[in-house]
């Protein structure tokens, strides 16, 4: 007699407009296991999980949870059925406390008013049982990203979730926080809970999961046990061919850097304020030589965003920044671009793309003044540019007239990369250039970055992914609390050394 699986999805179809996100996808998760759902970006993992959580109704297929047919249920029904999803983007009210956020929607009341003490008690108890430690009375806006994520998980568990779905939970965490999250998940498993983990990072998959489902192009291609499996085997299943993995990619030393050459970018005593007026970057100074990649490692939220935006012209700054002898800070965004600055922004939805605009239009964004005939746009030239870049960067679907919104995350990022790397530049600001991008595309983007470096460009690389920094950077700086706490050559850098600086545990003298 076999036990009923906790989750059994079969033949799930789900389309959005022209994009078929799921195509006969299936998933079987045994009760009480940690199950990893992996696949390239746009493989349909998030969609499949949102179908399971009741956010989307499938176009076809059946869904069983604990043996019960729940096909097409609503979010309310899925919560009642013990399924909870923690999203990539947190859904918390920043002005409320941890306890208030956790009980939101199922408040313990005291007559008409919220029984705050009871809520805090309940949260503290849950927090102790699961190992998700957060001060229940703290305001969410005061929490670190890792703590906010714990609140998200607590909230889901508080609503009675026995099947927990986590969408890319480690993207925003530092290495020690990741370890802590794995411990929490193991505690939940020991308690009889079931976990589905969506992730890109293959070492994580092997680290924590019991079994693995691989998706490709909307369908399930393989289901395997985590024991004895290699990252290469998973990657092959994801992409359908052998790929070089970032985590075992060899660092290739620069072929063109000339340490005696004058720096192509010289930043001195740069101080930047964040949106609330607090100091986000303090007195940061560094040089980048032509043909060099300076990587910035660090947990997100330590001033990297503000540093890049200040250099790009999107944020006011004090200090100086000279690009090949030109004072950047006195120029506006467009003139900085004309001076030879290129910028891959960290958030393609917020800044890098106009989602309502066509692929062709997005491929000239920021360059629109070069694609004009008189006062009107030169549509011929825009289409020519689009055809060339779509082909060269393998953007799919290869339809220049499609809205950028209709493309998968990886292909959206390719638009940004194609645009920023196909024009003339001396310095490239590459912020999280492979965030949310599939393994195959990561390989592609990394080789483009190395090519640009070898052609003599200076690159400032900011990445939350330590493996990426280690694979690309010639020198590595660690940012913590708005300062560079360490700068070292690639040869001196190891994950352990960097990790110490990243958490603020160590500071260079």
């Amino acid at each position: 007699m076999t036990t009923t699986p906790a989750i059994e999805l079969t033949g799930i179809d789900k389309a959005f407009g022209a994009v078929q996100a799921n195509r006969g996808a299936s998933l079987e998760v045994v009760s009480g296991e940690i199950h990893a759902l992996v696949g390239e970006n746009g493989a349909g993992k998030s969609t499949l999980m949102r179908v399971l959580a009741g956010m989307y109704a499938p176009d076809a297929g059946t869904m069983l949870v604990n043996g019960r047919d729940v096909t097409g249920w609503s979010t309310a029904q899925s919560i009642a059925g013990g399924v909870g999803m923690v999203h990539q983007h947190f859904m918390l009210v920043p002005t409320l406390t941890v306890a208030e956020n956790v009980v939101l929607g199922s408040e313990i009341t005291n007559g008409l008013s919220l029984d705050r003490a009871a809520a805090e008690r309940a949260v503290r108890e849950l927090s102790e049982r699961t190992g998700l430690h957060v001060p229940p009375a703290a305001l969410v806006s005061h929490l670190s990203v890792g703590e906010a994520q714990r609140v998200e998980i607590l909230k889901t568990l508080y609503r009675g979730a026995r099947i927990l779905i986590l969408d890319e939970p480690t993207a925003v965490l530092s290495p020690p926080e990741v370890t802590e999250l794995w411990n929490v998940l193991r505690t939940l498993r020991a308690d009889g809970g079931t976990v589905v983990l969506i992730t890109h990072k293959l070492d994580e998959v092997i680290d924590v999961s019991d079994s693995i489902t691989v998706m490709r192009q909307g369908s399930t291609v393989e289901r395997m046990s985590s024991r004895g499996v290699t990252p290469q085997a998973i990657a092959r299943a994801m992409v359908g061919r052998d790929v070089a993995l970032a985590l075992d990619a060899e660092y290739v030393p620069t072929s063109s850097a000339d340490p005696s050459a004058s720096p192509i970018l010289r930043v001195q005593d740069l101080t930047v304020l964040d949106a609330r007026g607090a100091v986000a970057v303090q007195d940061v100074s560094f040089d980048i030589a032509p043909g060099e990649i300076l990587g910035i490692a660090g947990v997100e939220g330590n001033g990297q965003t503000e540093l890049v935006e200040a250099l790009a012209g999107l944020r006011a700054a004090r200090g100086s920044a000279m690009l090949d002898g030109r004072d950047l800070l006195s120029l506006d965004v467009r003139r900085r671009g004309d001076a030879g600055l290129s910028h891959i922004p960290e958030d393609r939805h917020e800044r890098g793309l106009l989602l309502e605009y066509s692929v062709a239009e997005n491929l000239i964004l920021g360059q629109q003044h070069r694609f004009t005939r008189g006062v009107s746009m030169d549509r011929e030239a825009i289409q020519r540019n689009a055809r060339a870049l779509i082909q060269r960067y393998d953007i799919r679907p290869a339809d220049a007239a499609l809205q950028a919104r209709a493309l998968s995350g990886g292909n959206q990022q390719k638009i940004v990369i194609a645009r920023e790397m196909s024009r003339d530049f001396k310095v490239l600001l590459a912020a999280q250039p492979t965030r949310g991008v599939d393994v195959g595309a990561i390989e592609f983007i990394h080789s483009r970055l190395r090519e640009a470096r070898d052609a003599g460009a200076g690159i400032l690389l900011v990445s939350a992914d330590l493996a990426e920094v280690l694979a690309l950077a010639d020198r590595i700086a660690v940012m913590y609390g708005g300062r560079f706490v360490a700068v070292m050559s690639r040869a001196d850098a190891t994950p352990a050394v960097l990790g110490g600086f990243m958490t603020g545990a160590e500071r260079a003298a």
Partner: protein, 378 residues
């Protein structure tokens, strides 16, 4: 038939000559057309059903009332002329509001910008020497009206770009200030004794349709309607063909991305509100240059505010705005025609129902359309 699969089989070598993407925008696909036309039609049908119920509640026959409404508007030359006249002003104010919406700005000030444009045109007309051909005067009037409305629009634009003052508050408040100022100037300084209007233009008044076609005799329709259509065409070109338009729409859709792309967001803001004001100001010519040939207090009361509805129902697209202006002008004129059977205010209610129906049902119908198409594809 799935898209991804078919594309993955495409050869990756030189772009195929079969489907040059540049040829695409000239002819919208059938799907695009359906999505543009079908949803508003459904919304109008919904509004008509609500209208039926309203009419029934007054104890009248819906068919009789609608028949009367059509008879009094599109059914005879005079009524049709009145519809055209009202639509002309609404096209201008609709374009004004629509341009603002494209830039992510809500211009509630078309009402006073319209009046200011009419006023400055009338002032210029008093100063011109008599006997200059209309064709020579026209550019002067265009500049005068655009300037009058443009200045009123520039104020919230500059305040927003410079100090972040919210354009909704500033434009609402300016409506009171500007209308009061114009009323003062008209009634105290420039009125013809015993009237509330200024002296007539010395030169350059435009002909009414009644002057050319006897059937339109008595109606206010005049050749300014050609200017309105020209303005709609020009705005479409500006928004969808020029770099300025590309940048303006970018600001409206995603300010963060526009900033990243080197767009001067503040510049777009004040420019958009200034042009918006100028468009509304040009609407003043319909009355001043085309109909009465003088400025009169309250010559188009409500047309600025109705412009908001026109822009929303027309989805801020020039073609949509022209059609929506015709619809609202028809309802407005039709209200007078059906007054004998039902209160005129019923038509006001109907206008509100149209706005609600369009804003709620259009996205819904569009979604339905897409899902139907998907299942047909499979």
């Amino acid at each position: 038939m799935s898209m991804e699969r078919s594309l993955s089989t495409l050869p990756t070598d030189p772009p195929t000559p079969r489907t040059p993407p540049s040829a695409r925008p000239l002819l919208p696909s059938r799907a695009t057309l359906e999505e543009a036309i079908l949803p508003p039609l459904v919304a109008l049908m919904l509004a008509a059903v609500v209208g039926d119920l309203l009419i029934l509640s007054f104890g009248q026959s819906p068919s009789a009332v609608f028949h009367l409404l059509l008879e009094g508007t599109w059914g005879n030359a005079y009524g049709f002329g009145q519809v055209l006249y009202k639509a002309t002003t609404l096209v201008f104010t609709g374009l004004a509001v629509g341009l603002g919406l494209r830039a992510g700005l809500f211009n509630i000030g078309a009402e006073s910008q319209l009046a200011a444009g009419g006023f400055t045109a009338a002032m210029v007309g008093i100063l011109l020497p008599a006997g200059i051909p209309a064709l020579l005067c026209l550019p002067i009037y265009l500049i005068a009206a655009a300037l009058g409305g443009g200045v009123v629009g520039a104020v919230p634009g500059v305040l927003k770009a410079r100090f972040g003052a919210h354009e909704v508050i500033v434009t609402i408040m300016l409506n009171f200030v500007v209308l009061a100022l114009l009323n003062y100037l008209t009634s105290e300084k420039f009125h013809v004794p015993d009237t509330l209007h200024t002296a007539e233009l010395k030169s350059g008044a435009l002909p009414r349709l009644g002057d050319m076609f006897a059937a339109y005799h008595g109606s206010a329709a005049n050749v300014t309607i050609l200017l309105a259509l020209l303005a709609a065409f020009a705005l479409g070109w500006y928004l969808f063909r020029t770099r300025r338009g590309f940048e303006l729409r970018a600001v409206g859709l995603q300010p963060g991305a526009a900033e990243y792309a080197g767009v001067d967001v503040g510049g777009v803001t004040w420019r958009a509100l200034t042009i918006s004001g100028a468009l509304a100001g040009l609407g003043g010519l319909n009355f001043v240059l085309g109909y009465k040939h003088y400025y009169e207090e309250g010559f188009a009361t409500g047309a600025g505010f109705l412009g908001i509805a026109v822009a929303l129902v027309g989805r801020s697209h020039p073609v949509g705005i022209v059609l929506a202006a015709l619809l609202f002008a028809t309802l407005s004129q039709g209200g007078l025609a059906v007054n004998a059977l039902v209160p005129k205010q019923m038509v006001d209610v109907l206008q509100a129902v149209v706005i609600l129906a369009v804003s709620t049902s259009v996205p819904e119908v569009r979604r339905l359309l897409r899902s139907v198409r998907r299942s047909a594809d499979r």
